[in-house]
Point group: none
Chain length 119, copies 4
Amino acid sequence: MDFEKKKAIYLQIADYVCEQILLQNWLEGKKIPSVRELAVDIQVNPNTVMRAYAYLEEKNIIETQRGIGYFVANLALKHAVNIVKHEFIFQDLPQMFKSMKLLGIEIDQIVEHYEMRKK
Amino acid sequence: MDFEKKKAIYLQIADYVCEQILLQNWLEGKKIPSVRELAVDIQVNPNTVMRAYAYLEEKNIIETQRGIGYFVANLALKHAVNIVKHEFIFQDLPQMFKSMKLLGIEIDQIVEHYEMRKK
Amino acid sequence: MDFEKKKAIYLQIADYVCEQILLQNWLEGKKIPSVRELAVDIQVNPNTVMRAYAYLEEKNIIETQRGIGYFVANLALKHAVNIVKHEFIFQDLPQMFKSMKLLGIEIDQIVEHYEMRKK
Amino acid sequence: MDFEKKKAIYLQIADYVCEQILLQNWLEGKKIPSVRELAVDIQVNPNTVMRAYAYLEEKNIIETQRGIGYFVANLALKHAVNIVKHEFIFQDLPQMFKSMKLLGIEIDQIVEHYEMRKK
DNA sequence: GTGGTCTAGACCACG
DNA sequence: GTGGTCTAGACCACC
């Protein structure tokens, strides 16, 4: 896993976990990698993984069972969708529309670009 | 002018200046507000404005003339477009497409949303 | 470390760092002194060191790693050489040749002076 | 006349005057352009020219005759040579030698470069 | 008046 | 501990 410089690493880890859940690679109720395990895996300070997990726990996306590990929470999928959707609607989309206006780009070009990508 | 918490103020000021140039409210070769003037205007420490200006000068979007002030650089429009376009293509757009995939949103919905906004 | 009055301190600090890298006292990938550390060391405000480091990062000579510190960048040596060489060819050398012409100094005298210095 | 951004304009004007004297284009005792005249000529604020002249007067390179104008001083040539020579020996040369050391450039290359230039 | 540098000190987020 | 941002205020050189 390689990290962007602009975003905090713990947030990028959280994004990664979220993604696995949304793609249903990790299912509700199932155990996820332990802090240490993941830390070794992605070459990061365990504290940083811990922080990502704490962040996700606060958002009700994972939960901890003392002495056992972290698990995908009940309704994790729903919560994760909500969070991503919120970001999408109130940040990503307006940001994109603004840039489009400044650059004089029309929506058709975006659609075109999108179709190209799918191939 | 009110600032978001997430992004550094000096970068938001830089964005603002860039925007004025892209919208051609401020034309190439013309003087822009002095550091102190803008600082008072937007209720910010002059150092912060200075930092924004220094940043934009580095990007060849504005120029300084000793003891006189800052001016919109030659080709500022071109440079600004390049920067915004680069961000758009390599950050905003991929980010949006990724979110769309995770959320199962189709491009039609984006277009619809876009048309709504225009009204 | 003592500073000339004519040149900004932060630029002199940048020069110093560059020098260490060019002399290979500081190697690519290795950590350099932290902002605070160096600030104490050379009796300067941390902000000033920060400014020097930010300047060098812009030039791709050093890199920051969140919460850890600054490191000599990949290819730092190459970039530093390029910058110094550019200055040398387009500023120092023409300036010297011009002065030589005005003063009626011949190149032999320079060589002589150079040999003297080496002893 | 076009100015470098790095050096104060009034100093560049002073350099220009010095150069004319060293090249003996302007001879001792002869009148030099008036402040206004030169200001118009090189598209600069008269205050800036004034400052350059004041600077040169202080260095005994030009002198003012009230109501008449500025003249190349007695011994101007000698004074100018001294100033340029001092700068050359204590600034330009050491600076060049230092860069040469950092870049691993040998004196032969400089001589070669110099000969090339002459052609 | 303009830009530009520096200091001092506070505060935050990150690892 | 690390970098990074911001404020406040002083001081300088330049036009």
